[in-house]
Each structure stands twice: as structure tokens, then as C-alpha cells.
Amino acid sequence: MILPQDVPLTWYLLLSAALFSLGVVGFLIKRNLITVFMSIELMLNAVNLSFVTFAHQWHAVKGQIFVFFVMMVAAAEAAVGLAIIIAVFRARSTLAVDRIDLMKL
């Protein structure tokens, strides 16, 4: 069986773009605060995939280190964000984003 031995990096970038768009769609259509937050994590992961792809293209170690920093910031963001979600739930007893409308005009 003869298969091409290499995968063009374009495909990795297209996968990254598709995952990012799915994250944006999730951000728009999901109505649960936690799931909206998960969509943001999905977008961060998609961007990380682009970083790794370009690091591979340019043989740059710093691109991978940038992904490492993004992971650390995402961990910090997840901790603070989930704490905020817990605080919101305690104040409003709901996780539906439609009901959390105190600042809505």
C-alpha cells in the first residue's frame, strides 16, 4: 500500500481554523455558562495547534515555548473563571447566560 508519507502543514492549519470556528459557534449558541467557558478553552487549544505547526515549519523552539506559556495562562484563567462562575451561581442560583442579565440594557 502506497501512501504519501508526509502531511502538508496546511491541513494542520485548516484543522486549527476549523476548531477555532467551532469554538466561536459554541460561544454563540451555548446557553450554559460552563459550556461557554469550555468553548473559550477550545479556541485557545486551536490557536495552540497553529503555534505548534508554525514552530515545526520554522524549526523554532520559541514557538513551542509560547504554547507552554499559553497553557499556563489558560490554567490561571480557568481557575479564576471557574471561581467567578461559582460566585455568580451563588449570587443568582442559575447558570443560564440569559438569566444573568444584571448589566444588560
Partner: protein, 170 residues
């Protein structure tokens, strides 16, 4: 081999992401996100980023997703109700997403000079990575550790209930 692995795990990634959108219960969405992140770890490995693949599994699929599932269980989050959002989100949001995806795809497909990846070709070892990280980028690394410390303190301060504060001060 690389091609098969790429298609397999890219398929897992996309299927997990789509499943995240379709599931109505947050815990199912969280588990699909674990699938996405673990598949991404394999893709990182295919691109020769061995340390990042390990970190992806440990930090994302491990720590962050445990945090997510923990919060889902703690808040006893049930099924979400499907109200399709505001009209402006429907009218402007989805065409904007489609336009964004089309634009990204066009730019990517017209990019010249992108190479290709083959299996077991120029793997960045953890040795190389840590050499750069701890020599040239030591200061940003230390700043990140301070950031995480502040984030943990902030999370504890935010999540602490007022009742706990009152009983603690008594």
C-alpha cells in the same frame, strides 16, 4: 502512517468539538473536550513537540478538565435550556463566523512555502526546549509562576462564600 494518524486524530478532534456543541448536558460537553485535548496531544507529537504533548495531557486533559468537571458536579448543573440566543447573535454572529472561517481558509490555502510534516522528523526534545526556556526566557517563566500564584489566591478569594468568612471571623 503519519497520514493515517493525522486523519484519525483530526477526525477525533472535530468530532469531539462538534459533540461539545450538540450535547446539552455540561458533563458530556466536558468529556468531549477531553477527547479534543487528548487528540491534540497526539497531533503535537506528530509535529515533533514531545514535551507539549505531555503537558497537554497533564495540564489540559488532566488538571483543567478536572477543574471543569468538578465545578459542573459542585454546581449540580443540569441540562441547558435551548433558547437560541438573541436575534442579533443569530443574524450577525453566524455569518460572521462563516466569513471568519472562509477568510482563514483562504489565507491558509494561498500561503506559499509551507512545508510538510513526516513522522519522526526533527523532534524537539525536552532538552532543547528547557535549554531555551531556562536560559533566554527565565524571567517570563518566573513571572508566569507569580501569575499562577496570584490566580490561585484570586480564585480562593472569589469562590469563598460570605458565610465562611463570617464563621471564620467569629
Amino acid at each position: 502512517m503519519h497520514l493515517i494518524l493525522f486523519f484519525l486524530f483530526a477526525g477525533f478532534c472535530l468530532a469531539g468539538a462538534i459533540n461539545l456543541l450538540l450535547q446539552s448536558h455540561p458533563i458530556n460537553s466536558a468529556l468531549s473536550l477531553v477527547v479534543v485535548m487528548t487528540s491534540l496531544a497526539v497531533l503535537y507529537l506528530l509535529l515533533g513537540a514531545e514535551f507539549l504533548a505531555a503537558a497537554q495531557v497533564i495540564v489540559y486533559a488532566g488538571a483543567i478538565m478536572v477543574l471543569f468537571t468538578f465545578v459542573v458536579m459542585l454546581l449540580n448543573a443540569g441540562r441547558e435550556e435551548r433558547t437560541m440566543g438573541s436575534r442579533s447573535a443569530r443574524v450577525i454572529g453566524f455569518p460572521a463566523v462563516a466569513a471568519l472561517l472562509a477568510m482563514l481558509a483562504t489565507v491558509i490555502l494561498h500561503t506559499q512555502g509551507l512545508g510538510s510534516a513526516t513522522l519522526s522528523q526533527d523532534i524537539t526534545s525536552t532538552d532543547d526546549l528547557s535549554r531555551v526556556l531556562f536560559h533566554e526566557l527565565l524571567l517570563p517563566f518566573e513571572v508566569t509562576s507569580v501569575l499562577i500564584l496570584i490566580a490561585i489566591l484570586g480564585a480562593v478569594a472569589l469562590a469563598r462564600s460570605d458565610d465562611g468568612e463570617r464563621t471564620a471571623s467569629k
